[in-house]
């Protein structure tokens, strides 16, 4: 921090200028806990003091998304103000004299949190968010030793278990409004809002139908921002433990690209730690018979989707074509823009392609009865749980039905269980695995082989970049000089680029978050879309910022995870999907060629018009 002396009209004032204040920015002088500082004008008290070495506790505040000022934890005392002020929404003004930790401030913060705790269940020890709960942390931080207020809620609210992906417990809700804001402001989905009034207020859906019965995309961003366990993923760890302990079952696992840059955080490592090898070693120790990679089928997706694009371009198919990897996005378009469904690639997502290939090609190759095979996927995503249970995701069953004379009662899904990063972390902890001490191990062959193009599926723009790497070489039959398409990287909401494929100019766009997806869809529905190919990812930052990732996940953490994703790509020997030898072998031995009959049977799907309800 720089010590400066500034000449002011009223005399010589000594103060400190807030760190990181650019030169030439209008400042104002404030006093914090009796010391004078200059801080940039227009900032909130919360922002202004954070660069002065103070950290005001907050609970409902969610930077970049919302400041509802509902919790009253961030109150500060300002000289001359009638009441305490909420620092998250109060801007600094010239001469403001602020006390951050006066007796009055600390007492008010305690009272406000005690009021929240009055109705909050006291089952921390058996709560899914135990030790990862902002309410618990705040209570501890403020030194709350007893709760003076009695419960006002007479009857507990019922749980919302209607969704395949998420469970809501309104009893644990503190009505901070973060989930409502994220669903509306970031995703533009508006599945939830605060219903009722007074002590009956609760976050709920239209007519209390439950998340499973309204236009919810299962993206799980609500769970990611929830300070407590009021919205959590539907936990499937018990089912997976059971399968792992069943000697009759062959349990294989696939890991999405974004897990290797998120899991380390949940195991106590730094933000964005790249833990591919340790993750593989840990999964083996959990007891999976084979540790495979969703990246294998990410490469496969590029083969199928790339050829679908080329086919649409040459046969006058519906353009722009839009990617189909992100199940939240798929449900979104089915609800809100069903007229545009023909623009979506018919390719299943890599998770589903994996299940279908594992239970056909791999099972056949290894002589495993597909009915005895259990496919578990580790996903950064809650929507994957829903996707796995879509009735059309039984490609392998239909493949075997005639061949093995299977009956309807033998029906099985391609993917049996989809676990989030958070659930895997819980399993690893329960299994007494010392994650940080593990030696790195390699994925199993052949479904564990992947290229750099597959790694980047985990970041927004990655599917586009991977597709361009392959499309360029397939169309031009020339070697791609540089595999990195910087224009489609980064956290900008909508990125666009133009690629020259042998004289054919290909305009592409990449969007993350469903609100940004809306912008591109509105263009399509008006017939004004200038693009040929569009990538859409549901979550901010792409899968690395998915609703199943470790909590917290914010912009800084997303950036760290993205860096690791691109680092992993650059150190891969092969960086183009079509050069993956295991993929080449799969086509030679089984699928024959992209978009073949078997491909269509196993790797492609159709969508459903749902409407808004």
């Amino acid at each position: 921090m720089e010590q400066t002396t500034v000449k002011k009209e009223e005399g010589l004032v000594t103060g400190k200028v807030a760190a990181g204040t650019p030169k030439g920015v209008a400042t104002c002088s404030i006093t914090v806990n009796g010391k004078s500082y200059y801080v940039p004008k227009g900032k909130t008290i919360l922002e202004a003091v954070s660069s002065l070495g103070y950290s005001i506790p907050t609970l409902c505040h969610l930077p970049e998304v919302c400041s509802n000022a509902s919790c009253g934890v961030c109150v500060v005392e300002v000289k001359g103000a009638k009441s305490l002020l909420r620092s998250c929404v109060t801007k600094v003004t010239e001469g403001m004299d602020i006390q951050l930790a006066s007796h009055r401030v600390l007492a008010a913060r305690r009272t406000n949190v005690e009021l929240l705790l009055a109705n909050h269940p006291k089952d921390c020890l058996s709560c899914l968010r135990n030790q990862n709960c902002e309410l618990q942390s705040i209570a501890s931080l403020l030194g709350i030793e007893s709760i003076r207020f009695t419960q006002t809620r007479k009857k507990p609210f019922p749980l919302d278990t209607t969704s395949e992906a998420l469970v809501r417990d309104p009893n644990k809700c503190i009505l901070c409004g973060r989930c409502v804001a994220v669903c509306s402001e970031i995703q533009g989905v508006n599945a939830i809002d605060i219903m009722g009034r007074g002590t009956k207020s609760q976050v709920a859906t239209f007519f209390f139908k439950g998340l499973g019965n309204v236009a919810c995309t299962n993206c799980g961003q609500c769970a990611l921002v929830c300070p407590t366990a009021a919205i959590v993923e539907k936990d499937h760890t018990a089912e997976v433990w059971k399968a792992l302990q069943d000697p009759k079952k062959v349990v294989v696992v696939q890991t999405a690209p974004a897990i290797r840059v998120g899991l380390g955080e949940a195991m106590g490592m730094e933000w964005g730690a790249l833990v591919t090898g340790k993750m593989v070693a840990a999964l083996r120790r959990l007891g999976f018979s084979k540790v495979f990679d969703t990246q294998f089928t990410a490469d496969l997706t590029i083969m199928e989707e790339g050829h679908e694009l080329i086919q649409r371009l040459t046969n006058g198919g519906n353009l722009p074509m839009i990617t189909s990897c992100s199940p939240g996005w798929i449900k979104f378009i089915e609800h809100f823009y069903p007229k545009s469904l023909s623009h979506v690639s018919t390719c299943k997502s890599p998770q589903q392609m994996f299940g279908a290939v594992a239970k056909t090609y791999y099972a056949e190759k290894m002589g495993i009865d597909p009915r005895d095979m259990v496919v578990v996927s580790i996903m950064p995503c809650t929507a994957k749980k829903y996707e796995a249970k879509r009735p059309e995701m039984m490609g392998a069953f239909h493949y075997w039905q005639a061949r093995l004379n299977l009956l309807e009662k033998d029906k099985f899904y391609d993917v049996d269980y989809a676990l989030t990063t958070r659930e895997l972390a819980r399993m690893l902890k329960q299994a007494s695995i010392k994650f940080d001490a593990l030696e790195e191990e390699e994925f199993d062959d052949p479904l564990g082989r992947s290229t750099g193009a597959a790694v980047i599926f985990g970041a927004t723009g990655g599917v586009m970049e991977a597709a361009l790497r392959t499309a360029y070489e397939v169309v031009t039959k020339k070697h791609l000089p540089s595999v990195e398409f910087q224009a489609v990287r980064g956290l900008e909401g909508i990125k666009t680029a133009e690629v020259d494929l042998n004289g054919t100019k290909l305009k592409v766009a990449v969007a993350h978050t469903l609100k940004n997806a809306r912008t591109l869809l509105e263009q399509i529905e008006k017939g004004e879309s200038p693009y040929t190919f569009i990538e859409i990812m549901t979550c901010p930052g792409g899968c690395l910022g998915g609703g199943g990732q470790p909590i917290p996940t914010d912009t800084e953490i997303r950036k760290k995870r993205a860096e690791s994703i691109y680092r992993e790509d650059s150190r891969k020997g092969i960086r183009k999907s079509h050069e993956n030898p295991a993929i080449q072998q799969l086509y030679k031995e089984f699928l024959k060629e992209p978009l073949s009959h078997v491909s269509h049977e196993l790797l492609h799907t159709h969508y459903k018009e749902r409407g808004v309800y």
Binding site: N190, A191, R197, F207, V214
Partner: protein, 174 residues
Amino acid sequence: MNTSVMPAASEQQILEIINRFQGKPGALLGILETVQESNPHKYLPEETLQLISKHTGTPLSRIYSLATFYSFFNLQPQGEHIILVCRGTACHTRGSRVLLEDLSCLLDGSAFLETGENTFTTKDKKFTIKTVACFGQCALAPVVSIDGVIYSRMTTARMKGIIEKLAKGGKKHE
């Protein structure tokens, strides 16, 4: 007695109401109020809210949030006669609790007092009872409003008389 539910506002009627409020601040509240008034049972059915959402572009969750926040909006069909019992402090001290209990008993709805709900409609849809916070008529406590007419210094006996008259389909008021 005819208890069949009369048709709710048509899409065309709802569109007309929405157009009437176009560009006015707080339009949604006005739309909900007018649509509710146009409903023969003075409530907002799910399909009606869906039509309002479709034509105003307001998300369903937002509309439902609004409709559940204001006790003015009804999400259940209302009775032919609406009885509002004031449960404000002055009325409480002058016996409005007993009045409400007697009234509920009279209309076979004592159970609702235990639910914590603030409204009850008889099975035959003849009467709806609602509690309200205050009419601002504290000097005349206890106060009850029946079909929009305020009755002061209400007693159980007097209320019983009015209800019996209304139940027989008699004249609306004393």
